[in-house]
Amino acid sequence: MTTGAIPQTASLRILLAEDDASIRAVAELSLTRVGGHNVTAVTDGIQALEKLKEQSFDLILLDIMMPGMDGFETCKRIKETAATADLPVIFLTARAQAHEQQQGLSLGAVGYIIKPFDPMTLPAQIQEVLEKNVDGKQAA
């Protein structure tokens, strides 16, 4: 379930799918304490899809390399489902090669945040990606 709209500068309900416990811990800390967001964290794509059936979110942060179902497949399924198709997806990943970024964007993601990231500025990076996406849509 999703509202579809992206509240700018507001507290967001973020679904974080990341299998690495150390990254999950620091991302949750950053998003809640620095960003003031509400974070629900899961460890793989399958759990993310299940959580999306239960709760509403404003944004999903997806790791790519996860066991079970990777981030690309998860994003594809999110975009194929009417209830979640408008939910903005940002990949949070150490994969930085251009063709991989293009693959994610072609699946409907709004952007990438590359790991390693700075926990003090992660929320600002997310805001930047979301604003760029809104600007891009307005210009189109």
Binding site: D20, S22, I23, A25, V26, L29, R33, V34, M65, T93, A94, R95, Q97, K115, P116, F117, D118, P119, M120
Partner: protein
């Protein structure tokens, strides 16, 4: 000190305490029979992503270099065993350097000193990594190609 920095310091200590297990896992993967470079590269990829996030850039640099070398077939298992063993010698040295930081007091009042110490150790390790990578042409080549 910013409360967020105190929380980060706590998480950094927890993260460092996982290094011994990480090294053990990497060594098992590197020595697996039959060799599976892709699985080792995945494990390195994870550490490359988390190291810098925890302000330990030297971890990211060394893991990323070997990950890229494996994915580009510039380092093959077991043919390039000596290169991989040399890489592990650097990783072990980096791990123990970070682990020694945990001997420092963990109180909130010491967080500033903690962050300064992490930055100092990481800076020194980055310099050492630069020299090490220069001495390992297969790793350096993979970095340049990436």
């Amino acid at each position: 000190m910013d409360p967020m920095e105190l929380e980060i310091a706590k998480l950094q200590r927890e993260y460092i305490n996982t290094f011994a297990d990480k090294e053990k896992e990497l060594r098992q993967l590197a020595g697996a029979s039959p060799p599976n470079a892709a699985v080792l590269a995945k494990a390195l990829h994870k550490i490359a992503g988390s190291g810098g996030t925890y302000r330990m850039q030297a971890l990211t640099a060394c893991c990323r270099a070997l990950e890229r070398a494996l994915l580009a077939d510039r380092v093959q298992l077991p043919a390039h065993g000596p290169t991989v063993e040399a890489w592990f010698s650097f990783f072990t040295m980096a791990r123990t350097s970070y682990e020694k930081l945990c001997a420092q007091p963990a109180g909130d009042a010491d967080a500033e000193k903690w962050h300064a110490a992490v930055a100092r150790v990481d800076g020194a390790l980055m310099q050492l990594w630069g020299k090490f990578a220069d001495s390992q042409p297969t790793l350096a080549a993979a970095e340049e190609a990436a």
